[in-house]
Amino acid sequence: MALDRGHSLRKVGRGIALAALLLASAWPAAAVSQEQVTLTIWAGLYTPSRILPMSSDPNAPEVIGIDAVADAYMKLHPNVNIQLIANPISADSRRWLVTQLTGGVAPDIIWNSPDWAAEDYRKNWLVPLEDYLGKPNPYIAEGELGSEKWYDSFMPAINVWRAADGKLYVVLADQIQVGIYYNKDLFAKAGIDGVPTDWEELMQDAEKLKASGAFPFAQSGNSLDQLTWVSGWLTNFYYHDKIGTYDSDGDGLLSKVEMATAVKNGTYSFDQQPNRERLEQLKRFAGYWQTGALGTDDAGAQRLFQTGRAGMWISGSWALQTILQDPERKFDVGVFYLPNVNSKTSPLVADNIPPTNKAAGYGIFEFSVPQSTVERGTVDTAFDFLMFATAPQNLGPMVTEAGIAAPAVYGATANPDLELFAESISYPPAPLQEDDSMFDFEFAQKFMAITSPYLGGTQSLDDTVSRLDVELKAAAARVLGE
């Protein structure tokens, strides 16, 4: 490869360039090769609309996404050419990632879900962040967090998905939050005052909505996410008193390995009263889904809510702009956070458990660098770009324009729309993020498939529990590498 031949030349040239730049400018580009480099990026939800139109409406406002940052970077480094990949985030994304990474042809910077990265670490697909996190971020002003060590500029959320080998694989620079969007008009019609403050009230409100003729929830029963968020949320409450026993490293987070060990030791299984009750609550919740929810996907659920036929839709900050700007929406919309569970629902749950951040560790700026960049010689450039992009003065405008996540980097400005989610983002991370994707993607799929007939009423709780435990043990074995 051309870069190999020019290697020693590059070092000398780099040295000279560095010296010159240090003298000449406030933002020296320290570690970037001076040769022509093409950087391919799959920017996920930060993909600009010129690459991937977000809407078929030709009058829709243009979304700049990562373009501004990329253009600024290219101006600073004329030898770098950034190419953005057009690939939507969808139910197919996992498959796309798996094939691209297996084939060694993934783009140089890829959007990656941190729980997947924590699951895949053994496959050596991704470059661990440690080396680069320890370096100074040359794009951050002196004296600010991150100017000495890049790692310092990140809020603690980045640590949530540390892999079992102790390493981080995903640069997390913003935070999304889940929330329940609700139709204020339908709520008023059903006689609901305000928003529910706990799970019992939520169920009662759902009942009122049902009585008033609306669908209480617009649910996608045939895709992950909605179900697993609620499920994981409930589990945090039912297992609140056991968290201490599972948390062997005492960091307040239950990692994949900790949970897998608990399964192996028999201290966690579905055949326990708290889990059984949790499943029963899920079934109760499912009773308020629209007809045919078990076969509906995200798009269908969203459409149902947007056309004003469902009272609530569990989604998150990433849908905020779509909902606010939707010309089809004819009702007043609000959003509230997942309500706490307490003893009103079950004696197993204590009262006054402090609320936690369900979506801590997730964002839209979640990027990994594949191992193949090392061979290609683009790894340093890739990380340099990431440093540039996560510098608060660059990140802030990007995050603000998107309006769907709050920054997870200190010093970056936030979009005021995110005020709706600000409080819940500030909560400490929930110990159990999503107990079902807690193990791996495969377990998440199987959890959904196994609970589906239970929620639909064609399978007993006992059968569900025993089938789930079979998969639980298999998943734990996979996580522990057996």
């Binding site: 996992r94 498959r95 045939n222 045919g292 791996d440 064609t458």
Partner: protein, 319 residues
């Protein structure tokens, strides 16, 4: 990669005199290009799949597990759930392929006007080139439990109790998929259009005119003629379609991926979908290869059995 919804196996050796060659070798040159590509993109992957079915393979790392994958298959409840589903889809597919297009072919064949025959043949062939995805998407809308016309109509005519969440109710979902034409990319309801019809027509058209006329003179009515003359004489075509349908349905998963991804629960899971999921979503490529190997063996067995049982007594004379 081929996604031909059709496959076939042996050819019956036509008994025609062939030239004897003095020097043979130039003939081999004719088959070399085809074979090079076949070895590269068909044989190598085929044997590689067999090889990797003995490993725990995530595309990068391999770990020998011998027959471990096959053992795991026996205990895999996803695969267990997919077996009755594939049986249902295949049975429905075969039933539809054996009845409706054949019936339509007969009817077209018996039309008086040649023009009519041509017109209908044309009309029923065009859907082949129209995107099958559209049919699937439209059917998804038709099946929609809230907005879909099927339920609306049922409610309107007072048969509301039959309304279902067609793709969400585990007891009917698989049948709903079957009514669509099964897992593959073939033409769906009402199953008349497409290659099957053309193949049947071709067979009927090859029946000698004299036979038909003689039968009319003898006073055989349409139904009798169908069972006693047409059917036996198009045995070859019927057999072809039977085998093609079975082979297609057993591997198919394209519709499933689009509509239900095997859900709700495992009620529409099919082996092809399970293979795809294991290989490309869970990263268990060795296991997926093992599933493929088993599927392959099953298909060979079924095909050989079907061909033997339907062997026409009049062999080698089909032209």
């Amino acid at each position: 990669m081929t996604t031909l919804p059709i496959a076939s196996i042996a050819e019956t050796t036509p008994m025609r005199a062939r030239a004897r060659i003095g020097k043979v070798w130039p003939v081999y040159l004719f088959i070399v290009p085809a074979f090079v590509l076949l070895c590269l993109f068909c044989y190598y992957p085929f044997f590689s799949a067999f090889y990797h079915s003995l490993f725990d393979w995530d595309g990068v790392n391999t770990r020998f597990v011998g027959l471990g994958n096959f053992q795991a298959m026996l205990g895999d409840e996803v695969l267990a759930a997919s077996l009755p589903n594939i049986a249902i889809l295949t049975a429905m597919g075969v039933f539809f392929a054996m009845t409706l297009p054949l019936l339509a072919a007969e009817i077209i064949f018996n039309l008086r006007s040649q023009i009519s025959q041509s017109v209908y043949r044309y009309l029923f062939t065009i859907p082949l080139v129209l995107p099958w995805v559209v049919t699937v998407l439209v059917w998804r809308f038709l099946y929609d439990p809230i907005d879909g016309p099927i339920n609306s109509i049922l409610n309107a005519i007072g048969l509301g109790q039959f309304a279902r969440a067609w793709l969400a109710d585990p007891t009917v979902a698989i049948y709903a998929i079957g009514m669509l034409g099964g897992g593959g990319t073939g033409v769906g309801f009402p199953f008349v259009a497409g290659l099957n019809l053309l193949i049947y027509l071709a067979g009927l058209n090859s029946i000698s005119r004299e036979v038909i006329d003689a039968s009319r003179l003898d006073g055989v009515n349409a139904l009798q003629r169908f069972f006693m003359i047409d059917l036996p004489l198009i045995r070859g075509q019927v057999r072809t379609i039977l085998v093609l349908t079975i082979i297609t349905q057993i591997q198919a998963f394209q519709t499933i991926i689009l509509l239900t991804r095997g859900g709700p629960g495992y009620s529409t899971m099919v082996p092809g979908m399970a293979m795809y999921q294991n290989a490309f979503e869970f990263g268990r490529m060795g296991y997926a290869s093992a599933i493929g190997v088993v599927l392959f063996v099953v298909m060979i067995i079924i095909t050989v059995v079907s061909l033997n049982r339907l062997r026409s007594p009049v062999e080698g004379d089909e032209s």
